[in-house]
């Protein structure tokens, strides 16, 4: 059935989006905020050491942006594959 192939493609694209977005999620918090924080702290952004900033502010702000991007992408994807409510 042709419809089924479309649904598979929809699901695949969804998983691709989510993997990329969660990659960024991991990078800003675990990489920049924890694992690489000591080296990033040598760079300053205003009065903030960069690793400290990512842990205290950057991660949280990025998380909000990631969800906004996800919502936009998925709403468009629903329409593209005609599976919207």
């Amino acid at each position: 059935m042709a419809g089924n192939r479309n649904l598979e493609a929809y699901w695949k694209e969804n998983l691709t989006y989510v993997s990329i977005l969660l990659g960024i999620w991991f990078a800003v918090s675990y990489l920049f905020g924890i694992l690489m924080a000591d080296s990033l702290d040598k760079i300053h952004l205003m009065g903030f050491p960069l690793g400290f900033w990512f842990a205290n502010q950057g991660s949280e702000i990025t998380f909000v942006i990631l969800i906004v991007v996800y919502v936009k992408l998925m709403n468009n994807l629903d329409i593209k594959y005609d599976v919207q409510e």
Binding site: L22, D38, S59, E60, V71, V83
Partner: protein, 604 residues
């Protein structure tokens, strides 16, 4: 008007508002009661989720905790926000498509097993009760600090309010009340933060303020002569006093910080009272965006908290360290009578020394005379009867409770009395809103998962609604009992709640949605081993002789009990995968159901 009068007025007004909302939003059906009939607008749902999420601990204690932990403290900020990204992308839209009432119900249907449902039910009730006991205690503590009533009386007043609006309004009443509570708590948090930021740096946005240079006014208040960035000043003074730099690495190892952050994130995404919020939106689009709104409203407080933490830390050290008691700011003397701050002149030089380590050994107690007045020491301070830690162990002479950072904020910023009162109302809003959301999970688990689907499936709609109200009422009473008689381990149970949510619900739901071939045997084996491992680890280190067992050298890979949920989660995933591979595939009907969760539209 004095602080006490203002507090009674503001707390009274907010309580009247919550009750009014509950009467207006009375639940008429079980659908209303469990999931507000799926009628909640995503922005309101986001605010309600925010209030539900931010507990008394987030509001009162978190900034203080960060202020004493420095960069390590950011694990709470990342851990308690990052879970929403997982919720938005991996759980919320699919569970909303599922469209039923509770988390144990999803587990039971997806894994075609009443046993799985029962395990999930027990976990949900356990996690919610551990959490709610702390909230009722929080209500009592706020009452006693701001309204000068006994802690137990405070718990009773809080119980009465929650009892009224949770049993009457169900999810619908709770949600609209939480919207109001969010507004109260965020105002109470932001107003003092904005004014302190202006006072010290001239920048009205606290999130930018703590990365700014000190203003002329700020330098004068803090007694600093050289201009410079606030955080640089803070690092400098910390090191001068023998602490590690505020923005640098703290006392925890990197792997432990990593594991704790991860356990908190995954635990957030596995907490039943948060997950059910996404059952209440009208559409799947709405479920996705309401996770975004929720995180937005939460992030407003969570990005302000570290700013408050560093303002307070710098201010505390600068205005107290090496000063005479008579020169101490007035807020210090105001809060001294609550036992949240204390000083003892250990070395006899008449100055207040602030240094690494604890000044006293145990809870602060003051000496009182026969008529109950504080006995004053030679400098006018209250005399502490708690034994001091020996000088060679710590030269610190000051006890400063974490909570003081938020509680004394308005006085530090020299704001009018009504702002102090507003902070009290904010703390109550934070505790009550979280308690109500948890009580609803307990009520629905009992009336819907236990009675309706396991004991008496023939119960009528009306009977189930009455039962749900009775269950909510019963849960309030039990929670109140634990609030008045807190079990000794209340402080330890947060690790428990998150660890269990991380090692039980999260893997089971994720696999249930993303892998059609996950079987009932896999689910039960995975949940059981994840929980058993996590619980055993926490019990071993936290409850059995913690003083000698609970040290980093004994930990598995250096991971503390707070972070062990991460390992429990991995175990659950692995066991579930292996066992699912070895057992017969799920029935076609279940695989079709999982398939249908993936597409917003119902496809035949």
């Amino acid at each position: 008007m004095n602080i006490l009068t203002w507090t009674w007025i503001i707390v009274g007004l907010t309580f009247a508002l919550y009750i009014g909302i509950a009467i207006w939003a009375k639940a008429k059906t079980t659908g209303d009661f469990y999931i507000a009939a799926k009628q909640i607008n995503p922005i309101f749902n986001g605010m309600a989720t925010g209030a539900d999420w931010m507990s008394a601990a987030s509001f009162i204690s978190m900034a203080g905790l960060i202020s004493f932990m420095g960069r390590d403290g950011a694990m709470y900020l990342m851990g308690w926000t990052g879970g929403y990204v997982l919720l938005a992308m991996l759980l919320a839209p699919y569970l909303r498509k599922y469209g039923k009432f509770t988390v144990p119900m999803f587990v039971g249907e997806r894994y075609y097993s009443q046993t799985a449902r029962l395990v999930a039910l027990i976990c949900a009730i356990f996690v919610s009760f551990t959490y709610v006991a702390g909230q009722m205690r929080g209500v009592g503590v706020v009452f006693s600090r701001f309204l000068e009533v006994d802690i137990n009386t405070g718990v009773l007043i809080g119980m009465a309010i929650v009892f009224f609006y949770a049993t009457l309004g169900g999810m619908k009443g709770i949600t609209y009340t939480q919207v109001a509570q969010y507004c109260v708590l965020i105002m109470a948090y932001l107003i003092p933060a904005i004014f302190i930021s202006i006072m010290l740096t001239g920048n009205p946005i606290p999130q930018l303020g703590f990365g700014s240079q000190l203003s002329a006014n700020g330098m004068q208040i803090l007694g600093v002569t050289e201009p410079g960035y606030l955080l640089d000043k803070l690092n400098g003074i910390q090191q001068e006093l023998g602490f590690s730099a505020y923005t640098g690495r703290g006392t925890k190892t990197m792997i432990d910080v990593f594991a704790i952050t991860f356990a908190l994130m995954v635990g957030t995404a596995g907490l039943p009272h948060i997950i059910i919020r996404f059952f209440t939106t009208p559409t799947i689009k709405g479920a996705r965006s309401s996770a975004g709104w929720a995180l937005f409203f939460i992030a407003i407080l969570y990005t302000t908290a570290p700013a408050v933490a560093s303002f307070a830390r710098l201010n505390l050290i600068k205005t107290l360290s090496n000063k005479e008691y008579s020169q101490a700011p007035s807020w210090f003397k105001n809060w001294e009578k609550t036992g949240l701050v204390a000083w003892k002149d250990k070395n006899g030089d008449g100055l207040m020394q602030f240094a690494k380590g604890a000044a006293f050994d145990g809870k602060i107690n003051f000496e009182k005379d026969a008529s109950g007045n504080f006995v004053k020491g030679p400098h006018g301070e209250n005399v502490v009867t708690t034994p001091q830690t020996p000088l060679e162990k710590s030269t610190n002479e000051l006890y400063i409770d974490n909570d003081i950072v938020v509680l004394a904020n308005p006085e530090i910023a020299k704001l009018p009395n009504w702002v102090v009162a507003l902070v009290g109302a904010g703390g109550l809003a934070a505790a009550l809103s979280t308690a109500a959301g948890l009580l609803l999970v307990i009520a629905s688990a009992i009336s819907h998962d236990l009675v309706k689907s396991m004991i008496n499936p023939d119960i009528s709609e009306k009977g189930e609604l009455i039962l749900a109200r009775i269950a909510a009422g019963g849960a309030v009473v039990i929670a109140g009992y634990f609030g008045i008689n807190p079990p000794g381990f209340v402080a330890q149970v947060v690790a428990f709640a998150f660890g269990l949510a991380a090692s039980s619900f999260f893997p089971v739901i994720i696999m249930g949605i993303f892998w059609k071939k996950a079987t009932k045997e896999g689910c039960i084996a995975g949940m059981f081993s994840g929980i058993a491992f996590t619980a055993a680890y926490i019990i071993y280190f936290k409850f059995m002789n913690p003083a000698s067992y609970n040290v980093a050298a004994n930990w598995f890979m250096g991971i503390s009990p707070e972070g062990i949920g991460t390992v429990g989660m991995v175990i659950n995933f692995v066991i579930m995968y292996v066992v699912s591979k070895m057992t017969p595939e799920p029935p076609m009907a279940v695989q079709k159901m999982v398939e249908s969760l993936r597409y917003p539209r119902t496809i035949e």
